[in-house]
């Protein structure tokens, strides 16, 4: 493959044809949002830490001499970390995560990565998003495959929801595109009453049949997305407005996304997969230490508020969080006191039914790959497979394009 957007575009263009054809066949909105039955099925919140999180500063191997040598300025001493055991500490900003860990609610999986890792953010991210080495050329994202394989007959558009900016490719699906929303306050087209009556018709349109042009297909797709957003927006706005959290969320957009997920978990939505992204982990430069600490603190505040909020509610039994980053960072710090793109790093599962503790195995800091990176001890698809089989109850082989050995990550 040459470029992810090329492949994406080709897929999207053909998707347009498919969707438009569907829109042509049925005049009724395909959103099918009006299914109020409460579903107590388990849900997964996939939390992507984009940019390459420095795993060695997240789960710190402070007793390893090689770590001390490789990180002369970035290293964290044992006393500065939050203790997990005699050899491993958490970054000092991860106070809530640390507490959850000692409550047995956090599985910290070390050495997660892939064979033949890519050091390109986008390439590596694509591999994580598709669970396949070929990336987007292999087809839809892994969560989209879950959507199609496991719940393909279910028309509920709200089964997969991304909260935040750009939707990750993992959720992109030709047949069942995920709902992607930003903040709650703007889910409305604002105009006078007569304007709004008129705008409510903006997504209506006849399809040119039998041979729609590309223009017809693009228009049909834009209308379809507009219609979806009009219907979904009205419903979601009510859910967010009516929600009364049991804990206080920090006043920052990232935490607001977690508040939104909590609100949806406590609503009549039947959503099975939520997605949230925290970006900016690409810490090459001199500000790594401060920047990384700020990001992890932000992450920790949001997670802390979220679990305080859902704890003691039915939602607590229903949700597990899977946090990952497309790669860890180079073992040796660079001259700017930052770190360059690396390979393996930790992933986390958090929830009431998670088997807490350290899992996997920390890669050797001396037996590195030729580029000076950690060699993975756990293929990331084993984490996916376990989450699918043990948590969501979804058969993983077809989703992941192969069988991957499960791990004891859930009780």
């Amino acid at each position: 493959m040459t470029d992810r957007r090329i492949d994406r575009r080709e897929v999207l263009v053909s998707a347009t044809a498919g969707l438009a054809a569907a829109a042509c066949a049925s005049k009724a909105p395909k959103t099918a949002l009006a299914k109020p039955a409460v579903d107590t099925g388990r849900a997964l919140l996939v939390l992507e830490l984009f940019g390459g999180n420095d795993g060695l500063s997240t789960l710190v191997p402070h007793q390893d001499d090689a770590y001390q040598r490789a990180r002369p300025t970035l290293r964290l001493e044992r006393a500065a970390t939050l203790e997990l055991n005699a050899e491993r500490g958490m970054h000092p900003t991860l106070e809530h995560l640390h507490r959850l860990y000692h409550d047995g609610r956090v599985a910290a999986i070390e050495g997660v990565g892939m064979p033949a890792p890519s050091y390109s953010h986008f390439r590596s991210q694509e591999i994580w998003h598709t669970a396949r080495a070929e990336g987007r050329t292999s087809g839809p994202g892994w969560l989209a495959r879950v959507r199609e394989n496991a719940w393909g007959d279910d028309d509920d558009r709200m089964l997969t929801i991304h909260v935040g900016g750009d939707m990750p490719y993992s959720l992109w699906s030709e047949r069942h595109p995920a709902v992607s929303i930003r903040v709650a306050s703007e889910l409305e087209w604002l105009g006078s009453d007569t304007q709004r009556d008129a705008f409510a018709r903006a997504a209506d349109g006849e399809c040119a049949e039998p041979e729609p042009t590309r223009r017809d297909r693009m228009l049909a797709e834009v209308r379809s997305r507009l219609r979806d957003s009009q219907v979904a927006a009205a419903r979601l706005r009510r859910i967010f407005d009516d929600y009364r959290p049991r804990a206080e969320y920090p006043a920052e957009p990232f935490a607001a996304a977690f508040r939104a997920v909590a609100a949806m978990l406590n609503s009549d939505l039947r959503t099975r997969v939520y997605s949230v992204v925290l970006s900016n982990f690409d810490t090459h430069g001199a500000v790594q230490q401060a920047k990384h600490a700020r990001l992890l603190a932000q992450l920790d505040r949001a997670l802390g508020a979220f679990f305080a909020d859902v704890r003691g509610t039915a939602a607590d039994e229903r949700i597990a969080v899977l946090a990952w980053s497309e790669f860890g960072r180079r073992v040796e710090e660079n001259v700017s006191h930052g770190t360059d793109h690396g390979a393996a790093g930790p992933a986390f599962l958090i929830g009431s039914r998670v088997r807490g503790g350290l899992h996997g195995a920390h890669p050797s800091l001396t037996a590195l790959d030729p580029n000076g990176n950690l060699v993975h001890t756990v293929d990331f698809r084993r984490v996916y497979a376990t989450t699918l089989e043990s948590w969501l109850g979804v058969e993983s082989r077809d989703v992941l394009g192969g069988g991957y050995e499960p791990m004891p990550l859930f009780t």
Binding site: L12, E186, Q230
Partner: protein
């Protein structure tokens, strides 16, 4: 009278898949209003009906020549940016406090005030540039240059989030705009010495004993070859070749011979004592390079993935012309494939394009603060791409609430939305008072400025031969939409017009003669029309 009339006009006569060489096939382009509209949509930021009429009369070759060659004189002035030296305030280049100093702990109140003031001035000069650029896009004196500046800005991405001082960014922007339709090879040579890029991709501290690979990697993957055309070893070796290229504290490029690795390197099959010049020449010599550039530009302009035959043809053109861009565009804009049915009216506008199209058609020139905030709300802000890979393209822009959001931003720009505290309501003059915190700051940037329909638009409306709702709706839809209106949208607008007139007790012609009602209704009509699905496809 609308120059499109009531007929749907297509401009494609070639069979699908047919793509003969352009010099044989130019006669197959039907030069009509839709063709001119399409060209001006893609080579600029849309057009008013009078500009379209002018283009039809000029003829294809003359209009293409005008777009590609640009005007003989320009009113654009590169304003010399002010350089702030944050170290004078105890801050380093990334505005991190230096050892032993503290921004908030500065000894004198004057120092603190001076620093804060400088940050405001630094930010404002950036917003002024944004405003200058947007004004140029909407004025349309040099449309292809402004459009390609948007392209290169997204191609050679740099972000103010990393480059904390605006001086280097403003200089980079001015350079990109000067060179936007000149020569790709010069751009590639320039970008590895561009002070903002050197900071953005962490080249500033790269040294021979510890080369940083970030710039080298993106140089291969995004700027010249595309993935799959190089190895990890090539990147490591290229990083060595780039060592020594730095941004000096005065914001200009400097080469530090001491930091440069002058040993032998092996890059893409050639072993030599590579420096940055030789490295870029080696990239330009690869077959993958013109193919990558041709594919990216054609795809961006047309909004459709080009076929392999066309990629090869345009790559060859770049090679033959030594990466000169004007021959490339001259050929593209006279290529029947550029005017084919799959391309016309099918490209999703990006947020900046959407705002520029609306600004141009309506004659609105918002201030820099508004544009900056609108960019944030819509997901495309000046010098803040989502990643080094630049902006999304096509339907990737149409995430679920994106269209609702665009409508609201436009409503703010048109002055039909105002900030309220409690709930959404309609004021006496027809302004919607909204309780939307995210729009509040956006609307506040307008400082009471409000769109008034252009005098020429009012004159054209009054001069229409018929003033029934249908004729007025048809005229406005052609005037404002970047592509042909659908019957559904026409009906929707006609119905709204009739209903709104009735509500106000106005006759079909009467509302045009009442200045206050006319102003309110045209603003609301514009808000509605620019929120239609067709408004996003140009």
């Amino acid at each position: 009278m609308s120059i499109f009339g009531a007929l749907a006009i297509t401009c494609v006569v070639l069979a699908p898949g047919a793509s003969p060489p352009s010099h044989h096939a130019t006669s197959s382009i039907r030069w009509d209003a839709r063709a001119v509209e399409h060209l001006l949509n893609r080579a600029g930021f849309g057009a008013t009906q009078s500009e379209i009429e002018r283009g039809v009369a000029m003829g294809r070759e003359a209009l293409v020549a005008e777009l590609v060659d640009g005007p003989s004189s320009t009113s654009w002035v590169d304003v010399e940016p002010t350089l702030f030296r944050w170290e004078d305030f105890g801050l380093d280049i990334l505005q991190v406090t230096l050892p032993g100093t503290s921004y908030y702990g500065m000894t004198s109140a004057e120092q603190v005030a001076m620093c804060k003031d400088s940050r405001v001035v630094d930010r404002n000069q950036f917003l002024e540039l944004n405003q200058q650029w947007f004004a140029s896009m909407t004025a349309g004196a040099d449309p292809l240059r402004d459009r390609m500046t948007l392209y290169w800005h997204g191609f050679f991405t740099t972000s103010w989030e990393v480059v904390k001082r605006k001086y280097e960014l403003i200089r980079q922007f001015q350079w990109l705009r000067r060179e936007a339709v000149a020569n790709y090879a010069d751009l590639l040579h320039g970008i590895v010495r561009d002070p903002a890029m050197l900071q953005y991709l962490d080249q500033t501290a790269s040294a021979k004993d510890h080369p940083n690979e970030n710039l080298a990697r993106e140089l291969f993957e995004l700027f010249s070859l595309g993935e799959g055309n190089y190895s990890e070893v090539d990147i490591r070796e290229a990083a060595r070749a780039l060592t020594g290229n730095r941004c000096a504290s005065n914001g200009s490029f400097e080469f530090l011979a001491d930091a440069h690795d002058d040993g032998s390197k092996s890059i893409l099959g050639r072993t030599a004592n590579f420096g940055d010049r030789e490295l870029v020449d080696q990239l330009l010599a690869q077959d993958a390079c013109p193919r990558w550039i041709a594919r990216r530009i054609v795809r961006w302009i047309e909004g459709v993935e080009p076929g392999e035959e066309r990629v090869a043809r345009y790559a060859q053109l770049l090679r033959d012309e030594r990466f000169e861009l004007r021959p490339f565009f001259r050929t593209l804009f006279q290529d029947p494939d550029f005017y084919r049915e799959d391309v016309v009216g099918t490209r999703v506008l990006s947020p900046v394009e959407y705002l520029a199209f609306a600004g141009k058609k309506l004659g609105v020139r918002p201030n820099g603060h508004f544009l900056n905030k609108a960019g944030v709300v819509l997901g495309q802000s000046f010098y803040a791409p989502p990643s080094v890979k630049g902006w999304p393209e096509g339907l990737d822009w149409v995430t679920n609430d994106a269209l609702l959001r665009r409508g609201n931003v436009l409503g703010a720009m048109l002055g039909v939305l105002e900030v309220g505290v409690n709930e959404t309501a309609i004021a006496d003059d027809g302004t919607t008072v909204a309780n939307a915190p995210d729009l509040e700051t956006l609307i506040r940037t307008l400082d009471g400025e409000r769109y008034e329909p252009r005098a020429e638009l009012v004159a054209s409306l009054k001069a229409l031969t018929a003033h029934d709702d249908r004729s007025i709706a048809a005229f406005l839809l052609e005037e404002w939409l970047p592509s042909a209106p659908t019957p559904e949208s026409t009906r929707l607008v006609v119905d709204w017009l009739a209903k709104e007139r009735d509500r106000r007790g106005m006759s079909e012609r009467g509302w045009l003669d009442d200045a206050a009602v006319r102003s309110t209704m045209l603003r609301r009509l514009a808000h509605l029309v620019f929120s239609l699905p067709e408004a996003h496809l140009g």
